[in-house]
């Protein structure tokens, strides 16, 4: 799924894709990827990890007037890598797991240069994308198996 606010800038588009996939990685996957890095990164927090709410908006009829449906929990964190470049990374994830938000921010920061982006893509992003696609395909097949054709009978009798 592409972001509604479609970006023509390829760098922004790539970051949107990365953050979308990182936000769907579970904690264990993120921790394992962190441990698998050849050199453990060091970072400082520009914004402390924090849990709060996002108001989820919807539209009447799906396409009409906007309204507030209800809130969802969301956690966020902003980090900067120590050392050369000091790349900044942001993490926003659904739920209350601040550690996940922080790790997403770290991987976002590590992806700010071409070599880092390539490494994180191979290590984490691509496998997460594959896993989500597999799950989606499996689920879609199960739903597709419930496709129904009702036959309308002629109304009979009196």
């Amino acid at each position: 799924m592409t972001a509604q606010a479609t970006q023509t800038d390829p760098e922004i588009g790539a970051r949107q894709r990365r953050l979308r996939l990182l936000a769907r990685a579970d904690r264990a996957t993120l921790e394992a990827a962190l441990a698998a890095l050849p050199a453990p990164p060091e970072w400082r927090r520009l914004k402390q990890p924090e849990t709060g709410l996002t108001m989820v908006r919807a539209r009447a009829g799906g396409v009409g007037q906007r309204f507030n449906l209800g809130e969802m929990t969301v956690s966020r964190c902003v980090v900067a890598l120590e050392g050369a470049g000091q790349s900044m990374g942001v993490g926003y994830v659904q739920g209350r797991d601040c550690r996940r938000a922080e790790l997403v921010a770290v991987f976002d920061a590590l992806s700010q240069d071409a070599a880092g982006a390539e490494r994180i893509e191979r290590l984490l992003i691509a496998p997460v994308e594959r896993k989500l696609a597999d799950e989606r395909r499996t689920r879609a097949a199960k739903v597709a198996a419930t496709r129904v054709d009702f036959f309308t009978l002629v109304r009979g009798g009196d």
């Binding site: 709410l53 908006r57 209800g70 496709r147």
Partner: protein
């Protein structure tokens, strides 16, 4: 009137301990985990999220454990918890047209592009108690067959070439979207506020009101244009980045109700619409909501307001089960002073009546 009381700390502490013991039940029976509630009682979890107005399945499951399965109590817990959290963002409107559907049906259009997908439904089940579930067995596996299109168009808009069904119009991008969590309900309430109130509203209340419209109170002759359940992405603008990012999926159920409309002084005959949307698998809620949304559009459509479901003040002021339960249940708090005053009043009134009757009898006796 309730008058504040002091004391009772020890008794209250013991009462809560007793509640904790009762909540646990027989300790020989294994304790429920929050994950078990989340995974296996998802119908309850979804209702608590919808009416608690916070999407967080773990939190809703925990609230259900704490409330020993009492849903309204769990909803109250979630509402109280949300007040402790800051608002970090407001999402872009979710795009239900891009839903990854688990279910999608229409009772208006038999042959719709993408087909009718029953999904995980109770419909067409015999509603016989399944005693096999008493035994623990291997996890069931559903058969997969075929694939789904990435985008399933919303059928009400797709099959409306003639324009006989009203089209929903988006509001201006800079229009203010009302928010009940910031401003108390006031009237006249716009559709934004009405829909937010209905989304949080008690399911049983909406079900009864929706049912009343079917039985002739504000008859609206409804058809299910489409019901769909599935995952939608939530996107928020990230201030640190200056663009929107998709931060996760939520499951929602949407009902597009299509209602016959014979026309009014201002409108030609056409089909009008009511909308229902709720967190999770919440088909009954979404359907009832769409009926009540349509009924509440009476004034806008120039219909006579004759039935309870059309009365916005009545419907919206009584829809919230946390408020309703609070006001009804406050009656059990100590009203001793108030009641003593009422007792004195009733005694005085009785004494006055008795005195008047005695006087009347005396006068009658004297006259004889």
């Amino acid at each position: 009137m309730y008058v504040a009381v002091k004391g009772g700390e020890a008794a209250i502490g013991n009462a809560h301990q007793l509640l904790a013991e009762d909540r646990r039940g027989n300790p020989d029976v294994p304790e429920l985990s929050v994950a078990q509630i989340r995974e296996q009682l998802s119908g309850s979890v979804d209702r608590v999220m919808t009416e608690g107005s916070v999407y967080d399945p773990d939190l809703a499951a925990l609230a259900l454990k704490q409330s020993r399965g009492d849903q309204v109590e769990a909803i109250f817990l979630l509402r109280a918890y949300r007040t402790t959290l800051p608002r970090l963002a407001v999402s872009l409107p979710i795009d239900t047209g891009n839903m990854k559907v688990s279910r999608r049906i229409s009772s208006c259009f038999k042959d719709m592009p993408g087909g009718q997908l029953l999904g995980p439904t109770f419909d067409y089940a015999h509603r016989l108690i399944d005693f096999a579930l008493e035994a623990e067995g291997a996890a069931p596996q559903a058969e997969g067959k075929g694939a789904l299109a990435d985008h399933l168009p919303q059928v009400v808009d797709l099959l409306n070439a003639e324009g006989l069904i009203e089209r929903e119009q988006p509001d201006a991008d800079d229009a203010v979207v009302g928010d009940l969590t910031r401003e108390p309900l006031s009237f006249p309430a716009g559709r934004d506020i009405r829909l937010q109130t209905l989304a949080r509203a008690d399911e049983g209340y909406l079900l009864a009101l929706g049912y009343s419209t079917q039985r002739g109170y504000a008859r609206s002759h409804p058809f299910v244009g489409e019901i769909r359940t599935g995952e939608v992405a939530v996107e928020i603008e990230i201030p640190e980045l200056g663009f929107a990012v998709d931060i996760g999926d939520i499951t929602v159920t949407e009902c597009q109700m299509v209602n016959q409309f014979v026309g009014s002084k201002s409108e030609p005959p056409k089909f009008t619409r009511g909308y229902g949307l709720a967190f999770g698998y919440a088909e009954r809620k979404a359907m009832a909501m769409s009926l009540v949304d349509r009924a509440l559009r009476a004034e806008e459509l120039g219909e006579d307001i004759t039935a309870p479901a059309q009365d916005a003040e009545f419907v919206l002021y009584h829809a919230d089960n946390v408020e309703a339960s609070g006001f009804v249940q406050h009656l059990k708090l100590p009203h001793h002073v108030d009641f003593q005053a009422e007792l004195t009043l009733v005694r005085t009134m009785r004494a006055e009546i008795a005195a008047a009757e005695a006087r009347k009898a005396e006068l009658a006796e004297a006259a004889q």
